[in-house]
Amino acid sequence: MTGLAGVYQQQMKTSFAAMLQYRAALVIWLISQVLDPVIYLIVWSTVTAASGGEVGGYTRGDFAAYFLVLMLVNNITYSWIMHEYEYRVREGTLSAALLRPVHPIHADIADNLSSKMISTPMMLAVAVGLGFVFRPTVHLVPWALAAFVPAVALAFVLRFLIEWTLALAAFWTTRVSALNQTYYVALLFLSGQVAPLALFPGFVQAIGLALPFRWMISFPVELLLGNLTPAQALIGFAAQVAWIAIGLVLVRLAWRAGVRQYSAVGA
């Protein structure tokens, strides 16, 4: 186990150094992560202002709180692996990773964690700044606040597993952009990035309950904002754990089949 810890430590050190070299890329990435929730926040603020201060039980301040927390949770759970795997397979850079004595997923987890260590404080600062502009109303519930931490952690693990599995599609086709876009559209709507899921029609909410997207982003957000009852929170945790179990199985299966498929183009 100390061996794996050492691997993580070293990998994170390397990715820190690499990331600090590309500071401009960090800022640009930050802009794209911030702009989307801000736009939907503005749209919904406009709607609340036009319809008497409340939409589906959400006031202007509730929307502000919702989208600012969503921005933070999205940042924490985000991974870019689906954009990168196609390149790794096509250019054959994966071959080097395969030669290492540890599973390549560990390097990606370490990469992701170290980038979050840099981006999360930046996002927090942005959220505080935007808080002064959009004035969110927050009423914190102590138990929900405590439950938020494991919920975000599980959401991160779940999203990472699902996206890492889908990224492996690159073993079979080099045209992954259509698959990626489909995934991101489903994520956009069903994880509550367009609007809180409570504002969607019933059948969309039902689909949302059954699929993993909601548990990757909107569940921790609603939990922190105190919108969930303890029973709903327990259902959420159960769904997260169940989907993580499914994700673990899928990762294994897809990885085994994928590596057999891999022919190291260009290596």
Binding site: Y22, A24, A25, I28, I31, S32, L35, D36, V38, I39, I42, V43, W44, T46, V47, A50, S51, V55, G56, V133, R175, S177, A178, Q181, T182, V185, L188, F189, V194, A195, L199, F200, P201
Partner: protein, 261 residues
Amino acid sequence: MRTLRLMWIFFRVGVMGEAAYRVNFVIQLFQSLLGLLTALGGLAVVFAYTDTLGGWRPDEVVALVGVYILVGGVIGVVIQPSMEALIEGVHDGSLDFTLTMPEEAQLLVSIQDVDIWEVLNILLGFGVLGVALSRLGEQVGVLQAAVFGLMVLAGGAIVYAFWLILATLSFWFVRVENILVIFQSVYEAGRWPVTLYPAWLRFGLTFLVPVAFAVTVPAEALTGRLTWPTGLGAVGLAAALLVVSRLFWKVGLRNYSGASA
């Protein structure tokens, strides 16, 4: 005339290059439709709770989405791929070959790469616009259509000049392709009327990244919202930016030493 003929040649080369990869057509069609569905889905959720958004009725916002897709297609067909190729050319020195050709280099550089499947977005944009306008039941007069065309041209020119200025920065700085990523994520803000946004963001979307001129202003022309100062301002800004970008190109070129030659 000569310009048009050259553009036609590059377009044909693009067609010949892509004819071997016909599956890409299906994929692009799928992605374009998915993009449209995303935009309309977002509108459906919002308009389930309100009748107008910042004074825009649902079908008017759909018309705006049509312009958004249309202009996005224009950018995607030639502006974006050519500018990316220009940056690449400065990096690896392949710009040398372009410069030795017996044609105006800025023109060649600006049309050097064509992504023909993006034409689908132009068609789709026109389709969405047509549906939205017929649902609005508005008779689009010749004058209104002409003003719309002019505004799309002005918006296109502003976006082109903006991209050219950014791309010529690669003569001085090494990593500018990141800046182009900003444009893509900011362009998404154009799916909604920029009049919705608070002043600081509206300013950014008008002058820092000219999304307002590319999408909202043409849509305003079609829905009878365009005021004279805005229309004239768009044309004036387009002319000014074309001149400025030309200067950037000239000065930048003098800085270019040829990475490979």
